[in-house]
């Protein structure tokens, strides 16, 4: 069964450079792993200005009112990278040493 190798910083860098679009098989495995975990809640974005601003929120799995965070983004790519880093830390126990 696939597990994320915390030493594969190249995969993380690939995601940071291109969060949307074609990914390498290694990166796609990492993303699939992150996105198939069963967790009490998961991250979503709440759009506060159409096409311009998004606030990170926690959505209870199965439904419920999302809990907003103080983190907001004006680029979707930045939001994806922020959540990727949070999940990387959560899964591997290690901070991603990439800004």
């Amino acid at each position: 069964m696939f597990k994320i190798d915390p030493s594969r910083l190249d995969v993380a860098r690939e995601f940071k450079a291109k969060p949307f679009g074609e990914h390498s098989p290694e990166l796609q495995y990492v993303l699939n792993y992150m996105r198939t975990r069963v967790t009490p809640d998961f991250h979503v974005l709440v759009m506060t200005e159409p096409g311009k601003r998004w606030v990170l929120a926690h959505m209870p799995t199965g439904g419920g009112v999302p809990r907003m965070t103080n983190q907001s983004f004006d680029k979707l790519e930045d939001a994806e990278w922020h959540v990727f880093k949070l999940r990387w830390k959560d899964i591997t126990g290690q901070d991603l040493p990439i800004d």
Partner: protein, 742 residues
């Protein structure tokens, strides 16, 4: 925090007609309403600056705010009748199939009411069968299992106080340790409730000051699951008599004591429930539970309820069914005589909260002047109304390849879950939602938020406005009701970004239009995919049975493939001899939601038959830009397939390429799973920009991509997608017939 929401009592109006707007507002004393015509989506970067035109009308005013509640949960009800009066001893019995027996106490049948009057059969808080007589309760003590049939019966002899309760599993092919349970007790209770309606799947909980699903009756204890062959007698029957009654016979010697012999296999398409007894304790179902459900005696040999209705005598009730919120109008709007056809909305604003209540204005019948009609996909919008599932699980992010996104209006459905969900969801008991009504607040028909369906179609409206060619807006609902006659005045009919759901009537109308020379521009992806059935008398309500195949939010259980509203087989049109490739040349091949791509011109684009299309278009790459994830080809995409009905003379003038890993081959194309199902590895995944002529001088142009619409406004409509599409529109408007190629 202030909340506001609403809905309209009508969907499509002609000038001079009036629509009522219902609103509910919490947290403010007043709200402001303004009638607007929508010209484009509020899409942010790359899109046209958002425009909505205020319509001059007395309806634009400030109104007193009030809260209007929604009473969800389906049930059956028999109005109070003479036969139901004076009951002292009784027997209640039914076959039941509970789906959430662990979810707390639920009603099965009876006239029991809170806090403790009348009599009824129920599930106790552990899911065991229970009899209730006033404040008295006796339980079987054995919780029932999910999705198993039981015969549940209870009797009460008023003279002796003897109470008996049976809970007996019905034989099926599964292995289990269940055994029949029979318990007895003594009750000093009295039925003592005269003149009450008799309910199935709910108990009475008082009266509302405002209309509810049935009069002003408030209900609670909504049962999740199926009820089949319920019976009522004004005597305590013994077990043999109960069996006779359950089997469809009357118990000899006490037949006159039988009050109700309900047969839910009658009138399946409607709301009526039928009592076969001389008492005619007929009633109705409220909030549209699922009918045409296999009953306790379904053998599996017959899938079509119209062929063996006696095996489809179950009604599946859900505690979240909702067919009509029954709100009262707060104001009305009469469409001005000179109104322009288009997408309209009542924009409701209270403090920082806002909500768009959509409706459409079509031209007056018989006075059509425009040559172009945009067919708003109102059937599809209805089917998607309050799509909740996409927000509540990470699966959405998995298949979309990006974080799920919502806005404050989407969040309303989590704050007010009673507004119900869409046919992309499951009920609270896990069964698929097959019925959707628009007679309730809908959070995803709006010009903002996710650029999808209604919102995405506004890109096409924006482009049509830009062309200045003049157009009307008509709706799926009009097409279903009026057929080909609706389309006949127009040279061109444009279908939207995602016209996915079609009734037979709609499809036949479009087919007839195309055969008689009508031109069709299909400006989207994954269109003409699912068969739907409109409610027989209420077109605001649509049913979809997700049978057998396709990319499905849920799959219909075996035996539930036929629509209850019409008896028509549900599922993909592709499985019914009318694949999307027949009317449009293309059909669904893949979906992905992380990034969109572009088309590359093909050699066939040099064919003189399509020279008109490429006048002024010199690029080989088309649509490598767009508001929708950066490209014209993507989200849901279609390709030609000559084996499925693409006309042999069709030209594929451009093909998309370079789609991402999230684009997976659709389920109906996969017989054997393998590891090369994504677009990076599978060349079958692409969109085809397709053109073909039809006999009688018509033609069809198909983009095969939802994202296409989002590329139109880029650079102020000065781009190769807008140019090519406008070329097509101008040629399609021209009366000059298209010759069929030889």
């Amino acid at each position: 925090m202030t909340k506001i929401m609403g809905y309209a009592d009508r969907l499509s109006l002609q000038p001079g007609e009036t629509v009522g707007i219902m609103a509910s507002c919490i947290g403010a004393d007043r709200f402001r309403a303004e009638i607007v015509r929508l010209l484009n989506p509020n899409a942010g970067m790359g899109a046209s600056e958002y425009r909505e035109v205020a319509i001059e009308t007395p309806a634009n005013a400030t109104y007193k705010a009030r809260e209007q509640k929604i009473h969800a949960g389906s049930f059956g009800v028999v109005p109070e009748k003479w036969a139901l009066r004076g009951i002292e001893s009784f027997t209640l019995q039914a076959y039941v199939w509970p789906t959430t027996p662990k979810k707390g106490a639920r009603a099965l049948m009876g006239n029991w009411a809170e806090p403790g009057t009348g009599f009824g059969l129920a599930l106790d808080d552990k899911g065991a069968a229970e009899i209730r007589i006033g404040g008295f309760r006796l339980s079987s003590g054995v919780p029932m299992l999910e999705r198993r049939w039981y015969l549940v019966a209870a009797s009460f002899d008023a003279k002796s106080g003897q109470v008996k309760l049976w809970q007996e599993p019905i034989y099926d092919k599964t292995f289990h340790a269940e055994r029949p349970v029979a318990v007895e007790g003594k009750a000093k209770a009295s039925v003592a409730d005269k003149g009450a309606p008799f309910l199935f799947a709910a108990w009475r909980a008082g009266e509302s000051k405002t209309p509810t699903g049935w009069g002003r009756l408030l209900t609670k204890g909504h049962f999740n699951g199926r009820i089949d062959r319920p019976r009522l007698a004004r005597i305590a029957l013994d077990r043999a008599q109960i069996q006779a009654l359950a089997s469809g016979m009357l118990p000899s010697g006490v037949e006159e004591k039988v009050l109700g012999v309900w047969d839910f296999s009658k009138d399946i398409s409607g709301e009526r429930i039928t009592d076969l007894s001389p008492n005619r304790l007929d009633g109705e179902v409220v909030n549209l539970p699922t009918r045409a459900s296999p009953g306790h005696n379904w053998t599996g040999a017959e899938m079509n309820w119209t062929k063996a209705p006696e095996q489809y005598g179950a009604i599946h009730f859900h505690d979240d069914d909702i067919s009509d919120a029954k709100w009262q109008p707060d104001f009305s709007f009469t469409v001005p005589k000179d109104a322009t056809s288009g997408f309209y909305a009542a924009k409701l604003v209270a403090d920082e909260a806002y909500f768009y209540v959509p409706f459409f204005v079509r031209p007056t019948r018989g006075t059509v002047k425009a040559k172009i009609a945009f067919l708003a996909s109102t059937a599809t919008y209805t089917v998607y109304a309050n799509n909740r599932s996409r927000f509540v699980r990470m699966l959405t992010e998995l298949y979309q390849g990006r974080l799920s996104m919502m806005d404050n209006v989407d969040i309303l459905q989590f704050e007010f879950p009673e507004m119900g969900v869409s046919t992309y969801d499951r009920h609270t008991d896990g069964s698929g939602v097959s019925i959707s009504s628009r007679l309730r607040p809908v959070t995803n028909w709006k010009p903002h938020g996710r650029l999808w369906n209604y919102c995405c179609d506004l890109f096409i409206v924006d482009w049509l406005e830009h062309t200045g060619l003049g157009y009307d807006v008509i709706t799926d609902h009009d097409l279903h009701a009026e057929g080909q006659d609706l389309l006949r005045p127009y040279n061109v009919v444009i279908t939207g970004s995602h016209p996915e759901y079609w009734s037979l009537e709609m499809l036949d109308a479009l087919d007839g239009y195309q055969r008689q020379g009508g031109r069709h521009m299909y400006m989207g992806g994954n269109g003409f995919y699912w068969r739907i059935a409109f409610h027989p008398t209420n077109p605001n309500i649509i049913e979809v049975r997700r049978s057998e195949d396709g990319v499905r939010a849920w799959d219909a259980r075996v035996g539930e493939y036929y629509h209850q509203f019409t008896g028509e087989y549900g599922g993909l049109w592709r499985r019914q001899g009318r694949a999307p490739q027949v009317p449009t040349g293309v059909g669904f091949i893949s979906q992905g939601f992380d990034a969109c791509s572009y088309y590359r011109r093909t050699d066939q684009s040099r064919d003189p038959r399509v020279a008109f299309m490429f006048e002024g278009v010199t690029d080989e790459i088309l649509g490598d830009f767009g508001v929708l994830q950066g490209g014209a080809a993507g989200l849901e995409i279609d390709c030609a397939d000559f084996s499925l009905g693409t006309p042999p003379h069709a030209l594929v003038v451009a093909k998309s390429e370079n789609h991402s890993n999230t684009y997976i081959l659709v389920a109906e194309e996969i017989n054997i799973g393998h590891g090369a199902l994504d677009a990076v590895q599978n060349a079958a995944i692409h969109a085809d920009l397709t053109f073909f002529e039809t006999p009688s001088g018509g033609a069809v142009f198909s983009t095969g991509s939802i994202a296409y619409a989002g590329s139109l406004p880029i650079n102020g409509f000065d781009n190769n997608i807008a140019k090519l599409t406008t070329n097509v529109l101008k040629r399609f408007v021209d009366d000059k017939p298209f010759p069929m190629p030889r």
